[in-house]
């Protein structure tokens, strides 16, 4: 089971590139795609999901070019796009039955799978209600269920936790973690905490380019010794923001507790801190911004 992204670029207009020369090799596990808005995460996911084609490069699923034979991947693919709709007049169960037919599931497996999935996404009680009356979070859960219908080998979920309440987010993270054994899960988000617990691999994208790719430990190692905690008076906060890359800040009675990502010790009162994935992500993005030509 191997998904190789080989020099993929996507051009939208003459001087507008969504992706530039992206190279990645993915095996079983959860790969977290991180990046700011417009980084190219959704573009990459659409290309892998065979919804759009790369302008340059290839995506190989078990050595088959998916642009030439998209159905080899589609047969084992589960895809939850960032923006998707549902048929408002169908009930949840009818919609999933429809999607099961489109995906080519046999009737018996489909029925059992739909029942289980509705329980998994906590919609068993709402199974016979029209989707038109569902809230955004409920529709998102229907989307998650349809993506898992065919027990996919490749599961692509683009911002899947958008619109979910904290409890559902945790539930979904646990589900993905349980599912990730013998399949490739590609999970895109810009919320680092969503993937830090479950990702076996992280890819950071910005401006359509791959900035970093590796295990979370590798990314954390890169920022080792570069994270500091410091308490500063509120009045100095504005100046500190100008001067340093601040990861988090919390107001307390003794001042503002800030986490700073910096190669050098930012001040005498600063103490070294254990890096988090969020620190590593910010470090990576900020490095790219400072090194990019003005």
């Amino acid at each position: 089971m191997k998904l190789a992204i080989d020099g993929v670029s996507k051009q939208y207009a003459k001087k507008l590139w969504g992706l530039r020369d992206l190279r990645l090799e993915l095996g079983p596990g959860v790969v977290g795609l991180l990046g700011p808005n417009g980084a190219g995460k959704s573009t990459l996911m659409r290309i892998i999901a065979t919804v759009t084609r790369a302008t340059e490069g290839r995506v190989l699923w078990n050595d088959h070019d998916i642009a030439r034979s998209p159905d080899t991947l589609r047969a084992v693919l589960g895809y939850l796009p960032q923006d998707f709709g549902v048929y408002p007049h169908l009930t949840a169960i009818e919609f999933l039955e429809y999607m099961a037919a489109v995906k080519g599931l046999d009737a018996r497996s489909a029925r059992q799978r739909i029942d289980e999935l509705l329980a998994v996404v906590n919609l068993a009680e709402a199974r016979d209600r029209s989707l038109g009356g569902f809230s955004g979070g409920m529709k998102q859960r229907v989307g998650i269920a349809q993506a898992l219908l065919n027990d996919p080998e490749v599961l692509i979920v683009d911002e899947p936790t958008a619109g979910l309440d904290p409890e559902e987010r945790a539930r979904f993270r646990n589900l993905l973690s349980e599912l990730s054994g013998e399949r490739i899960v590609i999970f895109s988000t810009h919320i680092v905490s969503d993937i830090e617990a479950i990702a076996t691999d992280i890819a950071i994208l910005s401006g359509g380019r791959l900035l970093a790719h590796g295990a979370p430990e590798d990314l954390l190692r890169a920022v080792e010794g570069k994270v500091w905690e410091l308490v500063i008076p509120s009045a100095e906060m504005s100046a500190a923001k100008q001067q340093f890359l601040i990861s988090t800040s919390v107001r307390r009675t003794d001042g503002v507790h800030v986490r700073i990502v910096a190669a050098e010790n930012p001040g005498a009162r600063a103490v070294p801190a254990t890096p988090t994935l969020e620190d590593a992500y910010l470090h990576c993005i900020s490095n790219q911004r400072t090194s990019a030509p003005q």
Binding site: H89, L90, E94, A101, V102, Q112, G133
Partner: protein, 530 residues
């Protein structure tokens, strides 16, 4: 004073933004292209206006009158469909919800939309007015261009009519039942009747108060100039007619009396009144006022209430999923066809099926062949709003990414949609087909079957390529009205006219259906590759 200025500024920006958004769209370019073609047709003599066997000398008055009639008739129909989406777009893009949260009044919003509609239509009128000037220079029968005589009909006949169309389009958008496909179909009939009423009155030498398009203003003036006896007076406007008129006469234009000018301008007042009515009916994007199916299916439940009605969750750990024994997909065409058919018919009420049953029985029981043909035409018009969603549903309901990432979307899902449409045609027309089968009229049966293939193929092709139900609703209504309803043999794509089976007409529509099916596949391929 400053409040008034503020309102004018808001109105200006509303209309401007809307106008710019629309003129940058493909549909606008297409309609402008048709306007330019009409202008070209007029300038090159392909579009001709005749009174009996004669025509007027190509002076400024005649050309202005001719072009004004073209504008009033063509733009009042096509233009309506071009502009009737301005509020819907705000609804779909959810810009409406943002606008609704601002202090802007409903009246101001609706007026802005009417103004924007009017500007779009006026842009098309300007193209035709310029064509008029070119036409006069081209023909050179009367070289002196009299701008008032040429442009007066545009100002006093066409623009008030366009103001009315602009307001009616917004009014249709504010009435829930007329917002969608039903409104598109209904407008065609409203337009036909509204256009015919003053024409009939004029032919009977009566003046009509309802001459919104201003046709009788020009006709009665031309009739007097042609000096034809009332019983010989006949008028025609034709495209592509290259035969030359027998004689010419001089017409110096409409005598614009203050009463006549006032009568024409009063249509602008009617448009304003309709705009105010639309403002009154406008729901300000309040979802609770939307009369949608979802509201009917979940009567008192808002989405939030629905979520709250669910049982409390006890665990953040989901129950385990049983792995599928066989992950290989099994192609079950019957299942996908049934799923598409169910999706197609979902939400139809019992009375919809009752009407279908009525048509089936009536078609089977009617002894007269022409009566049966008329009933088939009606039976195959009844599902127009269902067929019009073919090929569009994935775009409209934003499920394209889900469907297109499933295996073989062209080889499986697209034929299933098409066959579901054909199945619907066979079902609704089964009374007619059953009778042909019963009487052993095999050639007639073949013509009927071709009709059942042609309609859904047309719907699918137009849906896939336009991404909207509207184009099929307009084209099909027009074809249906001119063809089967008027028993025009060449346009009888349904095979409903008596004796059609012994002509080449069914073969022609079979070829059309095959070509359109190929075009639909190409369109879907294009959607998959973008």
């Amino acid at each position: 004073m400053s409040k008034t200025n503020d309102r004018i500024r808001i109105l200006y920006h509303l209309a401007r933004a809307d106008f710019l958004e629309r003129v940058r769209r493909y549909s606008f370019v297409l309609t402008m292209g048709i306007s330019i073609y009409l202008g070209y047709a007029a300038a090159t003599g392909q579009l001709e206006m005749r009174v009996g066997d004669s025509r007027g000398v190509f002076n400024s008055a005649w050309i202005g009158g001719l072009m004004a009639l073209v504008c009033s008739t063509f733009l009042s129909l096509a233009g309506f469909y071009v502009v009737k989406n301005t509020i819907e777009r705000d609804r779909l893009t959810r810009v409406g919800e943002i606008l609704a949260s601002t202090p802007m009044s409903k009246t101001l919003y609706v007026m802005g939309k009417v103004l924007s509609n009017f500007l779009v239509l006026a842009a098309m009128v300007v193209i035709l007015a310029i064509s008029g000037i070119i036409m006069q220079v081209w023909h050179a029968e009367a070289p002196r261009v009299d701008l008032w005589k040429l442009l007066g009909p545009f100002l006093l006949i066409v623009l008030p009519a366009m103001a009315l169309v602009a307001a009616v389009a917004v009014l249709f958008e504010t009435i829930p039942g007329l917002r969608g496909g039903f409104g598109n179909v209904l407008y065609f009939f409203v337009w036909s009747v509204a256009l015919a009423t003053p024409i009939i009155a004029s032919e009977n030498n009566r003046s009509s108060l309802f001459d919104w398009a201003g046709l009788s203003v020009i006709w009665s003036s031309i009739g007097s100039a042609a000096k034809l006896p009332a019983n010989q007076f006949s008028f025609s406007l034709s495209i592509g007619n290259q035969a030359h008129a027998g004689s010419t006469f001089q017409w110096n234009g409409v005598q614009w009396t203050p009463e006549l000018i006032l009568a024409r301008l009063s249509w602008i007042a009617v448009a304003l009144a309709l705009a105010l009515l639309a403002a009154l009916l406008f729901d300000r994007f309040d979802p609770s006022k939307e009369r949608s199916q979802r509201a009917i299916s979940t009567p008192a439940d808002s989405p939030v209430e629905l979520a709250e009605n669910l049982p409390p969750r006890t665990s953040i750990h989901a129950p385990p999923l049983t792995p599928l024994a066989n992950r290989q997909s099994h192609f079950r065409f019957g299942a996908i066809l049934l799923a598409e058919l169910r999706l197609m018919l979902k939400g139809q009420k019992w009375w919809w099926y009752a009407v279908v049953a009525g048509f089936i029985v009536a078609c089977a029981a009617t002894p007269s062949a022409s009566g049966r043909g008329m009933l088939l035409a009606c039976a195959w018009f009844w599902p127009v709003l269902i067929w019009s969603k073919m090929g569009v549903r994935e775009t409209r309901d934003q499920t394209s990414q889900l469907i297109f990432s499933a295996p073989h979307p062209i080889a499986r899902q697209l034929p299933a949609v098409w066959l579901a449409g054909v199945g619907l045609a066979l079902l609704t027309g089964s009374g007619f087909g059953g009778r042909l089968l019963f009487t052993g009229n095999w050639r007639g049966l073949l013509a009927w079957l071709i009709g059942a293939l042609f309609i859904p193929t047309l719907a699918l092709t137009l849906g896939v390529w336009s991404g909207s139900s509207k184009l099929f609703e307009i084209v099909y209504t027009l074809l249906w009205y001119v063809g089967p309803m008027h028993a025009t043999l060449q346009l009888d794509f349904m095979g409903s006219a008596p004796g059609i089976e012994s002509t080449r007409v069914p073969a022609f529509y079979l070829a059309c259906a095959a070509a359109m099916a190929a075009i639909a596949i190409l369109g879907r391929k294009r959607q998959l590759q973008t």
